[in-house]
């Protein structure tokens, strides 16, 4: 139930903020802030309520019927990876509201409505485990994001917003076709149609085409080379909070999709595709870094560093071992904070200097020492300074990737050198050297200091004490098939997974019946999910072949 609460809180709160905005702008701001703080509170409760239980990775969840004709269900389930990403969402949500406090002055209520709807959609994506529902959430986070960019963005906002929407829509529809192909393959094999992720595991482990359908959708969002071209435009033209959410959350939905869907649903196809995907990842790392170096627009430059950083995630996912996957999860969190902070910094600079052009900056440290120090911190994070989250992530990823493919890992390591160059170059151009701009811009306000302090704390925590994050993610990652565990043996053993909290659901044996008959039988009795039943757990998890107790996908323990 708590997952539903997480989503409803944001949706209803968004509506409330909209209404409040008709009354006064600051009422809308405060409403949005309270809503996101409540969200954070709920997520905190979620962490506290984790109950260790054997046998299932799902920490919380709910299953309910939705469209029985297609046997579409409302399945929201959360495991360790989802939990971490939901936490990231809640934290960045609060920060996004704070970031927009002064920047947005027009139609504030509607702005916060869209902002909170994006957050709701993202949480939906991170928890939906019915593929139909997943697709719905995937699309629904787009529309408010589109409106955010198109209405409150910078000069070329409309073109950028449309480009963003069309790219995602095309890839999303390919994913929808792949989802249909997967569900119908399952239907042909068992006579039961279902979109339940757990039942579809092992349906088509080797189907390259279906895997590519999913891969394209996630690669566009990630973004992976060569599908990244929407990203610099969208990031640059979006308002500051929009860039923060894009970089911090929407890109993570792509990475999450790779880990959650590609590897478990298509382990064999993914293994066959791994060399290509890893190569794309390495190209992304190097190409993004080179392009970042060449930019003169602050935001555009940060946008390209995202391409570079998320290339590491792509490399890690297809390295297919626990170490790399752990690194990918940490990278998702660390990148959310470090790149998000750089975007906030760009927004703060633009507010003061009315430009994002690096050629017109210089010597800002002397004018705004506190902002200079903050910029130094996050530039160090971006280049992977030990002690900060990005270092842990990239270190784990390179270690894991080395086991999988030594030459590619070596090339990816060069990306770290490139990162050092562009990060230092950024500092040099903007904050050191002779003072280039006139006037005396105000140094950081307390509100901005608070935002940066939270992000610094998070990065330091990820860099110095990553173990809790690794522990939380481990049970979920252990279950990803084909992941070799011995590499990660030194990582502390998986915490015993918590009990599944989902409503009991009777499972009927499937009978073969033609498609249209299923649609008529709106009770879903014929379409009952075949494989998700107790004791009929799908096999592919077992391929981890480790003897860990995370094989079964039990649906018992209802509450």
């Amino acid at each position: 139930m708590i997952l539903v609460l997480l989503i409803l809180n944001l949706l209803l709160g968004g509506g409330l903020a909209w209404l409040a905005g008709r009354w006064s702008a600051s009422a809308a701001r405060w409403t949005a802030l309270v809503v996101t703080l409540f969200e954070l509170l709920f997520v905190g409760l979620l962490w506290l309520r984790l109950e260790p239980a054997e046998g299932s990775p799902w920490l919380a969840g709910i299953v309910a019927d939705w469209i029985p004709n297609f046997s579409v269900k409302l399945i929201l389930l959360m495991d360790g990876v989802s939990l971490l990403l939901i936490t990231l969402t809640a934290v960045l949500g609060v920060l996004a509201v704070l970031v927009s406090w002064r920047e947005i002055q027009e139609n504030v209520g509607f702005y916060y409505f869209n902002l909170l709807c994006v957050l709701a959609g993202v949480i939906g994506v991170f928890t939906a485990l019915d593929l139909f529902l997943f697709y719905v959430c995937w699309e629904l986070m787009l529309i408010p994001m589109f409106l955010l960019i198109a209405n409150w963005g910078h000069a070329h906002r409309k073109a950028a917003a449309i480009k963003f929407f069309l790219f995602t829509q095309l890839s999303g529809l390919l994913m929808l076709v792949a989802i249909l192909g997967l569900a119908l393959t399952h239907f042909q094999a068992t006579g039961a149609i279902t979109f339940d992720y757990r039942a579809l595991l092992g349906t088509a482990p080797g189907s390259l085409w279906l895997m590519l359908g999913f891969f394209v959708a996630f690669a566009v969002k990630l973004p992976a080379f060569p599908l990244h071209t929407w990203l610099p435009d969208a990031h640059t033209e979006a308002p500051t909070a929009g860039s923060l959410l894009l970089a911090g959350l929407l890109l993570k939905t792509g990475a999450y999709g790779l880990i959650r869907f590609i590897l478990p649903l298509f382990p064999e196809a993914a293994a066959a595709f791994a060399p290509i995907a890893m190569t794309l990842g390495v190209i992304g790392i190097l190409y993004g870094a080179v392009l970042a170096f060449a930019q003169t627009d602050f935001k555009r430059m940060v946008a390209y560093t995202s391409v570079s950083h998320l290339g590491f995630v792509l490399l890690a996912v297809f390295a297919m071992n626990l170490l790399a996957l752990q690194g990918a999860v940490v990278q998702m969190l660390a990148h959310g904070f470090s790149t998000g902070a750089l975007f906030v910094l760009a927004g703060a600079l633009q507010e003061r200097l009315h430009t994002r052009d690096l050629r017109r900056m210089g010597g800002l440290w002397t004018l705004m020492p506190r902002m200079g120090a903050v910029a130094l911190f996050f530039a160090m994070a971006a280049l992977g300074l030990p002690g900060l989250g990005n270092f842990v992530a990239e270190f784990l990823i390179l270690l894991g990737a080395y086991r999988a493919n030594m030459p590619l890992a070596a090339l990816a390591a060069v990306g770290l050198v490139f990162a050092t160059i562009y990060a230092l170059w950024l500092l040099q151009r903007a904050f050191y050297g002779p003072v280039a701009s006139e006037g005396a811009p105000r140094d950081l306000r307390p509100r901005e200091t608070l935002i940066f302090a939270v992000m610094m704390a998070a990065l330091l925590w990820l860099g110095l004490f990553p173990q809790p994050v690794l522990d939380a993610a481990a049970p979920a990652l252990h279950r990803v098939p084909g992941v070799s565990l011995h590499v990660g043996a030194y990582v502390r053993g998986p915490r015993s997974p918590a009990r599944v909290r989902e409503s009991a659901h009777s499972v009927a044996r499937p009978e073969t019946a033609p498609l249209a008959e299923h649609v008529r039988n709106g009770d879903g009795s014929v379409w009952g999910d075949a494989k998700a039943g107790r004791g009929e757990a799908p096999a592919p998890w077992g391929r981890a072949g480790t003897g860990t107790s995370t094989i079964d996908d039990r649906r018992g323990g209802a509450r």
């Binding site: 469209i67 029985p68 192909g181």
Partner: protein, 486 residues
């Protein structure tokens, strides 16, 4: 005529009877309110008659009509949309013209023609229904005699619909020459599966061309943008919704009963038409600045998507196509309601620029309009998405079942949807344009009459309901459609 036949035919009788009653009413009073009231009463009575006829199974009435549940479903759908369009017509005509009587007579006649099409079992009934629609519509399209664009629309529709009917008749004649019957069922048994003789193929091809004109399938779509643009908004609504739904019902019935779909040549023809329509509709709509023209091209594309479900065939295909239409019709009705309500006396509010700033000035209207447009684009939580999802499901299902041609169709659906999304987004973005106070387009400042508000609310809610909880509707449609497949 037995009692059962009378019950079955009652909806059609009531629709035609309303037209006659309206003629008589004109002799007594020319009051616009009375005329529209009689029309509404007649349509509502037909709707009730539909529900009364539903329990009985397929009932042949003469050799021409077979009134089965499928026919009644479509008749009911047409009557429902007809009620909405009648209200729009009332709002539109009031204050624009004093000659209102003929409008409603023609309107009701066209609706009766649609009901005949949906239940026809014979080429003669097909022809009758089609002519009832065409003849009424070209007069309706040119109803504003002071408007040159309307006259042009009427002429264009007259000539092209005439050609289409002639082509269709010739095709039917060829089939009659070859098989000696024009009843669908008899043709179904007479035409051997895979019959490839020139007479049969030419006959069917001509029939398909005639249907293609009415459904605005590319390359038969050339008349659509001009007629859509020139005709009064409610008449455009009629052409876009009722006339298409009726012809599509006939197409489904004809090809299911005559088993033509399996024919490889015909499959190729329809697949080509579908792909051509999807791309033509979506690409040509990209640069249009006129909302009605955008809707014309959007309907070309949507008919293309619909053909995919039609081609997949079987019960699933018929259900998917019917659901698609069920979701498509209220979306269009809602859009035309807005168009009508915000139109001025001298010209319809059909330029995209007329809606600049709608979201800031009239947020509720903008929200409803956005939902309706997103439904046409097939974005989740609208009926249009479930329709498109189901169409894609039948397409992928057919492709996996061993006809790889469907991959091309599904691919066209995907690419076409993305291209089309661009023009819907352009309209939505216009809503958010900032205009200085006092310089707003006149359209967005007009008051929406209560009747239009009701129609708009109901159609928007229908679109959302079909998108969020489509279960009941799907079950209902499949119960009504699968009678054919037992």
């Amino acid at each position: 005529m037995t009692h059962a036949q009378l019950t079955a035919l009652l909806p059609v009788i009531l629709l035609a009877g309303t037209a006659v009653a309206l003629l008589l009413v004109q002799a007594i009073t020319r009051s616009h309110r009375v005329t529209a009231g009689v029309t509404l009463a007649g349509l509502a009575a037909a709707l009730v008659a539909v529900t009364r006829a539903l329990p009985q199974g397929a009932t042949p009435v003469t050799a021409l009509l077979t009134i089965d549940r499928f026919a009644l479903l479509y008749t009911g759908l047409l009557a429902l949309i007809g009620i909405g369009l009648t209200l729009l017509s009332f709002l539109y005509l009031a204050g624009r013209t004093r000659l209102t009587g003929a409008y409603y007579i023609l309107f009701t006649l066209a609706l009766a023609g649609g009901a005949v099409l949906a239940s026809s079992a014979h080429f003669a009934a097909f022809f009758l229904g089609l002519e009832m629609i065409s003849v009424s519509l070209f007069a309706l399209a040119a109803y504003r005699r002071d408007d040159p664009a309307g006259i042009e629309a009427g002429m264009k529709y007259l000539v092209l619909a005439g050609v289409a009917t002639a082509v269709l008749l010739f095709g039917a004649a060829l089939l009659y020459a070859r098989y000696g019957t024009m009843a669908f069922a008899a043709l179904g048994t007479a035409i051997a599966p895979g019959a490839g003789d020139p007479l049969t193929l030419a006959g069917i091809a001509l029939v398909v061309a005639g249907i293609g004109f009415k459904l605005t399938l590319a390359p038969f779509h050339l008349w659509a943008p001009d007629v859509y643009e020139g005709a009064p908004a409610p008449v455009t609504g009629f052409i876009a919704t009722i006339s298409k739904a009726a012809v599509f019902a006939l197409l489904l019935r004809l090809f299911t009963q005559v088993h033509l779909r399996e024919h490889p040549a015909l499959f190729a023809i329809f697949a080509t038409l579908a792909i051509a329509s999807i791309f033509a509709g979506n690409l040509l709509g990209l640069r249009q600045m006129n909302l009605k023209r955008v809707l014309a091209y959007s309907s070309v594309a949507n008919m293309g998507y619909l053909l995919i479900a039609f081609l997949a065939g079987g019960p699933a295909g018929a259900i998917a196509a019917t659901f698609y239409l069920t979701a498509y019709l209220p979306a269009l009705l809602g859009i035309f309601t807005l168009l009508t309500a915000l139109s001025g006396r001298e010209r319809d509010a059909d330029a995209i620029a007329d809606y600049a700033g709608l979201a800031w000035r009239r947020p509720v209207l903008a929200a409803a309009f956005t939902v309706l447009l997103l439904s046409l684009a097939g974005i989740p939580l609208t009926g249009g998405f479930i329709g498109k999802f189901y169409v894609a499901l039948t397409g992928v299902s057919a492709a996996l079942a061993g006809s790889p041609a469907f991959w091309a169709l599904v691919g066209a659906l995907v690419v076409g949807s993305v291209i089309g999304l661009y023009y819907y987004l352009r309209i939505v973005l216009a809503f958010f344009q900032r205009t200085p106070a006092g310089e707003e387009p006149a359209a967005i400042t007009r008051r929406v009459p209560d009747a239009a508000a009701i129609v708009l609310t109901l159609s928007t809610l229908a679109v959302l309901w079909l998108g969020v909880l489509p279960g009941n509707t799907l079950t209902l449609i499949s119960l009504l459609v699968e009678e054919w497949f037992r």
